[in-house]
């Protein structure tokens, strides 16, 4: 069986940053990624990021991905990357099973950082499984990575930042966005993103949602309606729209299922997107030497995923005897950055959610 100091599951911003910081400390690691490339959700984000310099604000997501990947490639002796490889099993004695090209591979490790990210939620309505109904992030991948359009006439469900950003990017790619539907009485995402869309004439319909989809082999039409303050459809407000695509952007849920395989203590926290592990201040779970970083322990943003990656990489290395020369300074800096990212009114729910999972 292959012996590895540290296994990092997921090659998104959190996983890549963890590997970098571990390597800076002198610890070797193996990154396992199920996609054919590393970079996670960043590889499709053509917009510029918010935040501060340290998390590459004002840089486009696709370029941040390149920076993170290059950082990791600077340590060829210490960091090994396996793409097209899915982690399918995790055992308490720190054996990890991988599936690569129809072959199972077993790896024995001393520590694990789980950085599997999150997946887009679905929404319940009639015929919600018709082809032509996609997660908003999925459409972003199709357009921005592969250069393929989902269709010509699209409606977006959800006005959080992802819904707003992807709507804007659909228009950039030449797609007609009929409207954005938002069940709440207010727009969910940042005002700047909403204003950009409004300037382009896109109607953001608050207190509205999708009632049903219509189509035989694929999506042809949708019925939308107005909601009352209990989020019930108001009779007589139905409206039929002809669309070939519908994007669902109603949040993400952490891909935390691997953690359940080793009986990690978990909790359902809606503010964090779903089922998440309990963690201590260093992101260690209830199982010793099993750490988590990024969206898997609470859906946030790439900026915080990067810093959480650095933090866990730094801490794990120290636990295994590889102390970074600037450990104390970096540790405080990462903690500080995370606190700043979560400050302000937009971070409130997140802060409450994170309090609930502290061990």
């Amino acid at each position: 069986m292959k012996q590895i100091d540290l296994v990092i599951i997921g090659g998104g911003p959190a996983g890549l940053s963890a590997a970098k910081m571990a390597a800076e400390s002198g610890l070797s690691s193996l990154i396992i990624e199920r996609d054919f490339k590393v970079g996670g959700q960043l590889v499709k984000q053509t917009h510029m990021f918010f935040g501060s310099e340290k998390q590459y604000a004002k840089t486009r997501g696709i370029d941040i991905a390149k920076i993170l990947v290059n950082d990791v490639l600077k340590y060829p002796e210490l960091i090994e990357i396996m793409t097209d490889t899915t982690v399918v099993g995790l055992y308490k004695d720190k054996v990890v099973t991988l599936l690569q090209n129809d072959k199972y591979i077993k790896v024995q490790t001393n520590a694990i950082i789980i950085a599997t990210g999150a997946s887009e939620k679905v929404l319940a309505f009639e015929n919600n499984d018709l082809p032509g109904i996609y997660g908003a992030g999925a459409v972003q991948t199709l357009m921005n990575v592969h250069g393929v359009l989902p269709g010509q006439n699209v409606v977006m469900v959800g006005s959080g930042n992802i819904g707003l950003i992807v709507s804007y990017q659909l228009i950039q790619a030449g797609v007609n966005v009929l409207c954005v539907l938002e069940a709440a009485s207010e727009i969910g995402g940042y005002k700047v993103h909403a204003s950009k869309l409004k300037r382009l004439g896109v109607d953001i319909k608050t207190s509205h949602s999708i009632k049903k989809a219509i189509g035989k082999e694929y999506l042809e039409k949708i019925v939308i309606g107005k909601l009352d303050d209990k989020w019930e459809f108001i009779e007589g407000t139905d409206e039929e729209l002809v669309v070939d695509s519908l994007c669902i952007s109603v949040g993400l849920s952490p891909l935390s299922n691997l953690l359940s395989m080793i009986e990690t203590e978990m909790k359902y926290v809606s503010y964090l997107g779903g089922l998440v592990p309990l963690i201590d201040k260093n992101h260690e779970t209830s199982i010793e030497n099993v750490f988590v970083a990024g969206d898997v322990c609470g859906v946030e943003e790439a900026s915080s995923a990067i810093v959480e990656g650095y933090l866990t990489g730094l801490v794990v290395a120290k636990k295994l005897g590889f102390v970074h020369p600037n450990y104390d300074e970096l540790y405080l800096d990462f903690k500080d950055q995370l606190q700043n990212l979560r400050s302000g009114p937009f971070g409130e729910k997140l802060r409450l959610g994170l309090e609930e999972i502290m061990r």
């Binding site: 199920r34 996609d35 054919f36 959700q41 053509t46 486009r60 899915t86 129809d102 990210g117 997946s119 887009e120 679905v122 499984d129 018709l130 082809p131 032509g132 109904i133 996609y134 997660g135 992030g137 999925a138 459409v139 991948t141 199709l142 357009m143 921005n144 990575v145 592969h146 250069g147 393929v148 359009l149 989902p150 269709g151 010509q152 950039q172 790619a173 030449g174 082999e217 694929y218 891909l255």
Partner: protein, 104 residues
């Protein structure tokens, strides 16, 4: 449909790849996933639900939801949204849970 002009991104001309969709020869480009190549050809239905045989397309595009599973080179349940297109691939629509295949 492929994007031709974009204010931020450039999509360079890539090598054309021929592959087979339900027996018919079609084309995609190098760098496509199977799902993106089919989508560009206007094919949205990639699989069918097991019980009711309802048509399904891709949903998550990150290899998680299994709604894009197809039979590729005889192998069932291949996640076509995260599998790169390869010249001469045989891609088929899947209508059941998928049969175990023989490697030779």
């Amino acid at each position: 449909m492929r994007i031709k002009e974009h204010p931020i991104l450039t999509f360079e001309e890539k090598k054309e790849l021929s592959f087979f969709f339900d027996g018919k020869e079609v084309f995609g480009y190098e760098g496509d996933t199977i799902a993106s190549a089919l989508h560009a050809l206007g094919v949205k239905t990639l699989s069918h639900s097991i019980e009711l045989h309802r048509p399904r397309g891709f949903y998550c595009a990150i290899g998680n939801c299994s709604s894009c599973n197809m039979i590729v080179n005889g192998k069932a349940n291949v996640r076509t949204c995260v599998t790169l297109l390869v010249e001469n691939m045989q891609v088929k629509t899947q209508v059941n849970k998928g049969d175990i295949y023989e490697t030779n």
